[in-house]
């Protein structure tokens, strides 16, 4: 069964298992407080039903049926990620160690074959691995092999560096991500897309593509694009993908605003530096507040949290500008502490509002 369709059921199955666990925990508490007690027959029927259901979910989707299994799964995810990074690094260093011993034709064949074989490895692994951890590992290695493939062709033939490499890397990363439900590769693909679009926006305004960071505004169009991708394309079958798009979109939007709020020289706008910096600082506050409001309205905790994080960063940056040179350091940090407490109170209020929202992702 392909990972994509399996993952949709896996997501629902995992949610169901979590609800069963929560139900059992609450039922035990109610029985302990003698508020509710099921008859033995009812208990047996419910337990039997849940046991069969969870066994079926385990067999088909390898879900975590208990808190302990969840904790172990986190460990497996970390191990899978670290293993993938280590294997990818190993591929790079292996090639660098031996490539000079081969002629050009052999080098090209090795590079292309490594990409193709590792991709085939992902296909085969996905069919055998219900948990997805091994698929993720092999998927990352396949992506690393393809990155190496393109980079080394450039080095072997002295090809002029180009942002087109980012497009093909993004394409393969997203194909693997969506095909086999590997969120880490979705992130890799998104990062490549961010770099490519920012580079292109930069070249349209006359910059060299690698200088995209010299004009942080180059990142704003792609930030908006990313944030609204889940609105345009339904991601209900891909757990966490919509979250990644929104969070990366917001970070890609707010970081340039933060930079330009302190470095007006980097703006395309032909205005006084102080006007640019003041304008971006104000925009940062307004946009982060709007993002918090929007996240609460839609029930997107990750959007609210990102908005809050940047609102706090903008606030503390402003405090630093105003007060760092004006007062003794102990007083400055005391004021920071007071501001943090006020933030906590505000967030507590927001949390109350957030409870009332609660729309699904």
């Amino acid at each position: 069964m392909s990972k994509q369709a399996g993952s949709a059921d896996k997501t629902s199955a995992q949610r169901r298992a979590d609800r069963i666990q929560a139900f059992n925990d609450e039922l035990a508490e109610l029985e302990r407080r003698q508020i509710l007690a099921l008859s033995q027959k009812q208990q047996a029927r419910v337990a039997d039903f849940h046991r069969h259901l969870l066994a079926d979910f385990r067999d088909r989707f390898d879900i975590d049926a208990s808190h302990k299994e969840k904790q172990l799964s986190w460990g497996m995810r970390i191990a899978s990620f670290l293993g993938a990074v280590a294997l990818a690094a190993s591929v790079f260093f292996l090639f660098y160690q031996f490539w000079g011993l081969f002629g050009t034709t052999v080098q090209v064949v090795i590079l292309a074959t490594a990409s193709l074989l590792s991709f085939a490895g992902v296909v085969v692994t996905s069919r055998l691995d219900a948990s997805g951890y091994f698929t993720k590992l092999v998927g990352l290695v396949a992506f690393a092999c393809f990155v190496l493939n393109v980079a080394m062709l450039g080095q072997i033939f002295n090809i002029t560096p180009s942002d087109n490499a980012l497009v093909v890397w993004a394409l393969l990363a997203l194909i693997l991500a969506y095909g086999y439900d590997v969120r880490l590769l979705q992130v890799a693909g998104v990062l490549c897309v961010i770099a490519f679009v920012a580079a292109r926006v930069g070249t349209w305004s006359g910059l060299y593509w690698l200088d995209m960071g010299n004009r942080p505004e180059n990142f704003i169009p792609v930030a908006i694009l990313l944030f609204f991708v889940p609105q345009v394309i339904n991601h209900s079958k891909f757990e966490g993908f919509a979250l990644s798009y929104r969070v990366f979109g917001l970070v890609t939007l707010f970081v340039p605003i933060l930079v330009l709020g302190n470095w007006g020289y980097g703006s395309y706008l032909n205005l006084d530096r102080n006007v640019i910096e003041g304008g971006y600082q104000l925009a940062g506050f307004i946009l982060s507040a709007l993002v918090i409001w929007y996240g609460l309205r839609r029930g997107w905790a990750h959007v609210v949290n990102t908005g809050v994080t940047f609102f706090v960063i903008f606030t503390f940056t402003k405090f630093f500008d105003w007060w760092w040179d004006l007062m003794p350091k102990y007083l400055f940090f005391l004021l920071m502490g007071v501001a943090a407490i006020l933030c906590l109170l505000a967030l507590k209020r927001l949390r109350l509002l957030g409870r009332e929202a609660g729309a699904p992702l």
């Binding site: 069964m1 392909s2 994509q4 369709a5 399996g6 260093f93 660098y96 160690q97 031996f98 490539w99 000079g100 011993l101 081969f102 002629g103 050009t104 090209v108 590079l111 292309a112 990409s115 193709l116 991709f119 992902v122 296909v123 393809f146 493939n149 393109v150 062709l153 450039g154 080095q155 072997i156 033939f157 002295n158 090809i159 002029t160 560096p161 093909v168 394409l171 393969l172 194909i175 693997l176 969506y178 095909g179 086999y180 006359g206 910059l207 060299y208 200088d211 010299n214 004009r215 007006g264 020289y265 980097g266 703006s267 006084d272 530096r273």
Partner: protein
């Protein structure tokens, strides 16, 4: 199940297509670059192409040659190493011809210096030409001047100082004759066709991609000046077929200051996309 298999099939096809098409395109680009008559073909020596390994030799078995070229400074000396620096010909007028519009000199400092970014242009690299001859003459002139001062006779400490200056001038001239690169960046433009028409000798002039920036100098002469900030291809990979001689030289270590003479020459061709490749390596 049928829907699942169909989705999987499309994923496999899409992934294979990306890998295959990327490799085909890359190799087709290489074939295009190397097809037909090269844009330039020059025999450069170790002075212009020094051996280079990324990382330690044990970790990276590949070998490339680092392109060393210089710019002619306003004081007549050759400066820079990897084709970067402020050549005297890259003034405000030239910058504007390159499409780098600079703010008026009377505008405020902020406007003058706000975020100038690099622009990709075509550079003209001249091998063993007039720019090198002028630099060599400047070095010879400097030695003559210092020697003349020494010959006048100087007392005590001043004599020692002047002797050191003469020695330094001799070393500098020796380096210019034997060691330093004879490749100079002499011009820049936006059209390689027009540049090639201006510099038709393909055995002496190389068209190469480079990055140019602008900066405002508030020293003695307040003006906008250009800087060549980088060249995207600063290293030329050496295929296995041409490595034998170079590997021997690498093992024997760098050429010493006392010998100083280049040990090898490399025939390098530059193709239609101005990307270089090694044709031949020979010992000198």
């Amino acid at each position: 199940m049928k829907e699942v298999m169909k989705t999987d099939k499309w994923t496999v096809l899409a992934g294979l297509a990306v890998i295959v098409i990327t490799n085909v395109f890359a190799l087709a680009g290489v074939a295009y670059n190397r097809g037909g008559e090269p844009d330039a073909g020059v025999e450069l020596s170790e002075r212009e192409l020094s051996m280079w390994h990324a990382g330690s030799r044990d970790e990276n078995s590949g070998l490339s040659l680092r392109l060393a070229c210089r710019i002619e400074r306003s004081d007549g000396y050759g400066g820079g190493y990897s084709c970067t620096g402020n050549p005297q010909w890259l003034d405000q007028a030239k910058l504007e011809l390159l499409g780098i519009n600079v703010p008026p000199a009377d505008s405020d400092r902020y406007r003058r210096q706000r975020g100038m970014s690099s622009k990709e242009v075509f550079l003209v690299l001249e091998f063993d030409g007039e720019a090198y001859r002028r630099t060599l003459q400047r070095a010879e002139e400097e030695l003559r001047i210092q020697q003349a001062l020494l010959d006048e006779g100087l007392p005590g400490k001043a004599l020692k100082v002047q002797q050191d200056r003469v020695q330094a001038a001799q070393n500098y001239l020796r380096d210019e004759r034997n060691q330093k690169s004879r490749l100079f960046v002499v011009d820049a433009g936006l059209s390689k066709t027009r540049l090639r028409a201006l510099y038709p000798d393909t055995g002496r002039y190389i068209m190469y991609r480079g990055l140019v920036n602008a900066g405002y100098y508030e020293g003695k002469s307040q003006q906008w000046r250009g800087t060549i900030t980088d060249i995207p291809i600063s290293h030329v990979n050496v295929p296995l077929a041409h490595r034998g001689l170079l590997d021997e030289f690498w093992k024997s270590g760098r050429r010493s200051r006392n010998e100083g003479l280049p040990r090898y020459a490399v025939q390098v061709s530059f193709g239609r996309r101005l990307e270089p490749w090694v044709e031949e390596v020979r010992a000198l």
